[in-house]
Symmetry: C2
Subunit: 421 residues, 2 copies
């Protein structure tokens, strides 16, 4: 079979699984998830053997250690993956919930029933744990999923998918519910992204390059964020120790992720008091500072401190680097965020009631926080129970996406013979 | 200025108006809507004069009467348009509503705040009343709108937009909030659909050709339905007089609209009792019947009754024509709908509790009804208060779209210094 037909076949399998998946009750779905968790542990030797082959290949082709770490599976990570599936089983099932059921003047009862989206295409890098996470979330929300992971993880993804499919079959669910594209051919993704009649939504997860490629090629809706240029604004009169604690957490706790702070904005009235201590703490942790002229006037140039260029305000460093700018007002901070931001996550540190609310209202980002770290933009942390990604597109979902965001609603209407006049 | 820059300027104006629009409270928005209603009535002579020029031009170029009817404005239609704006003013304002505000174990309070989408592109045919409807709904939901109506209505749309913009300026709102593309150049739409950085959503309304053109060209999300191939399934043991009443309403009350019935499915156990009376009623109203062999066996061939071809099951007639098929079971009816339907609107006529619920659950359409006419798929009729269109895409909105569907939510988080551990 040629590639095009192979991908088409996979899409057809997925589509065919949808009515079955949509009709499963929570107990059935949770039983499969539990079985999947057990099976991953039981088959750990086989899985780790395949993963080892991927690792050896990746080492040979000179991938860096950070890459190998993400690719590597261990008994420990398999246990975490199994636990993740069990946690998804414990989450409330969004499917079938009817909200509303209001009554119209003519007696029609109208409500909205939550239903799965259908078929989800999930495109990601060489992180085999994501294969299992995504499969679990899609299954619980009643969706079929077509997985396309990074080519370096192909053996790991195939053996994991095989284990999951065994569980599906044992529970009488078509294996089209969870499929992995069984090739590393780049054309496979291009073919997949053409199948708008089969695939309802594509979620790409990974670097900006991958996401832009997917968005440019996809004929169906794509939920994604390109990057997270996250800001913290330290307001006039802010609680300075709190500001230090939050800024350090947002910058250094995990600098390589999308909700880490990339630009620090400081109100001019608080800059002199705040910035020297902040710079000292950042430098102690090895953070390079790229400051505006006003910032440098206060903290001085020196080792690891240099002037920011215009391009720095747009930058998602994903590293121990921070852009710092002194602004004249909250308005100026908001304007900076609008101009350079990515609609991802922004926070204000303030003691002022009015300005807290003004910031919340006027910043146009998926998560806006008062007196808390940007690192909280995460489905688990915000209480969605799980996360399949973060969207900075405003349509359908804006912010972290959990099980609910993998569903939609249809209208249901109960009548007694009503016609329209 | 060349066309490309002209369109870009319009998009920039719209984007610039967004922060102002997003910050308006309901009273301010309702005051503008009321002023717009008054102004349309005051300026009726000028408006009707421009509309007359459009009409004369359209007559000269040989457009049919139905087309001219849709293009024509009168004192009466202007009154209706003004009333429509006043009704939108009375609707609840979705913007700013915070849902949730749950508390996380670490004390963070997390909620979702409803916000405008931003800039909406609205592309439609030569119906100048839609210009005012769309402007009113976008304004009330805090969005800027860029309107591109059919070229035959250009003078009407420009004079209407000018009236609306006068009201905006008088209320201190940038006129970028409501703009009409001031050219009939087809390239204008193509340019507009490239501006994904400026336009958050495009809604096309009109024939399938227009909608397919927009969807193919747009780089931003598009909410639309291509067509409405709506089904009614008359179940075994259905209340036959009720079925007649609903089917006649769904077929003939307004055959040219997307929620009219196009295919009638009849359970084999009820076909003999139901179909002769149904055929008689349809023929009395001049409806042509295209039946499956089993249907023709019962009602016979004859004037206005002929055999359906495979293509008929896919057809959106928008006319006094009905495809009729006898099916062996509810499952077969659902399978027919899945294969040939358009996910728009389907109804079951039944007395059976279990089968009513099975139909509701298993039919994958934006509106599914029991014992009511498909004609109820409409924002007003279902209680949304207004309608800007109907979506059969599942993302963001599925079914009629009212003010809420022109908004999204962002997460807001109130902290007291929380950091992530």
């Amino acid at each position: 079979m040629d590639l095009k037909n192979q991908i088409l076949q996979i899409a057809e399998n997925a589509k065919e699984a949808c009515p079955v998946l949509g009709g499963l009750n929570s107990r059935q779905k949770n039983r499969v998830l539990e079985r999947m968790a057990q099976t991953l542990l039981k088959q750990s030797r086989t899985i780790l053997k395949e993963n080892k082959k991927d690792l050896e290949q990746a080492e040979k082709t000179g991938h860096p250690n950070a890459f190998l770490d993400r690719l590597r599976l261990t008994e420990e990570t398999l246990k975490e993956m199994a636990l993740g599936l069990q946690e998804v089983a414990l989450l409330p099932d969004p499917v079938g919930e009817v909200s509303g059921l209001w009554t119209r003047p003519n007696g029609l009862q109208v409500g909205r029933m939550r239903i799965p989206l259908g078929v989800i295409g999930f495109i990601y890098e060489s992180r085999p744990n994501v294969t299992v996470d995504a499969a679990g979330l899609c299954l619980k929300s009643g969706n079929a999923v077509i997985l396309k992971g990074g080519s370096e993880a192909i053996r790991s993804n195939l053996v994991l998918t095989k284990s999951l499919q065994e569980c599906l079959i044992q529970e009488g669910i078509p294996q089209g519910a969870v499929q992995t594209i069984p090739t590393t051919d780049r054309e496979a993704t291009a073919e997949l992204l053409k199948l708008e009649e089969y695939i309802d939504l594509v979620i790409p997860r990974g670097g900006e390059g991958l996401i832009r490629m997917v968005t440019a090629q996809a004929r169906m809706p794509v939920l994604k964020h390109y990057k997270g240029v996250c800001h913290i604004f330290v307001d006039q009169g802010a609680d300075i120790p709190m500001a230090y604690q939050i800024c350090m957490n947002a910058k250094i706790q995990r600098p390589g992720v999308c909700n880490a702070m990339e630009t620090l904005l400081v109100h001019k009235e608080t800059a002199k008091e705040f910035l020297p201590g902040m710079a000292h703490r950042l430098r102690q942790e090895g953070v390079e500072i790229r400051g505006c002229p006003a910032t440098l006037k206060i903290i001085g140039k020196g080792k690891g401190i240099r002037e920011a260029k215009e391009a720095d305000w747009y930058e998602e460093y994903l590293d121990l680097i921070l852009a710092v700018r002194v602004v004249g007002s909250l308005k100026e901070a908001v304007a900076h965020i609008h101009q350079y931001g990515s609609k991802h996550t922004e926070a204000i540190i303030t003691r002022d009631y009015e300005r807290a609310h003004e910031f919340l209202k006027s910043v146009d980002s998926s998560v806006v926080l008062v007196n808390a770290s940007t690192r909280f933009n995460d489905g688990f942390q915000l209480g969605l129970g799980a996360e399949i990604g973060i969207s900075t597109s405003k349509l359908h979902a804006f912010g972290p996406m959990g099980l609910n965001e993998l569903t939609t609603t249809k209208f249901i209407v109960f009548g007694q013979g009503q016609v329209r006049s």
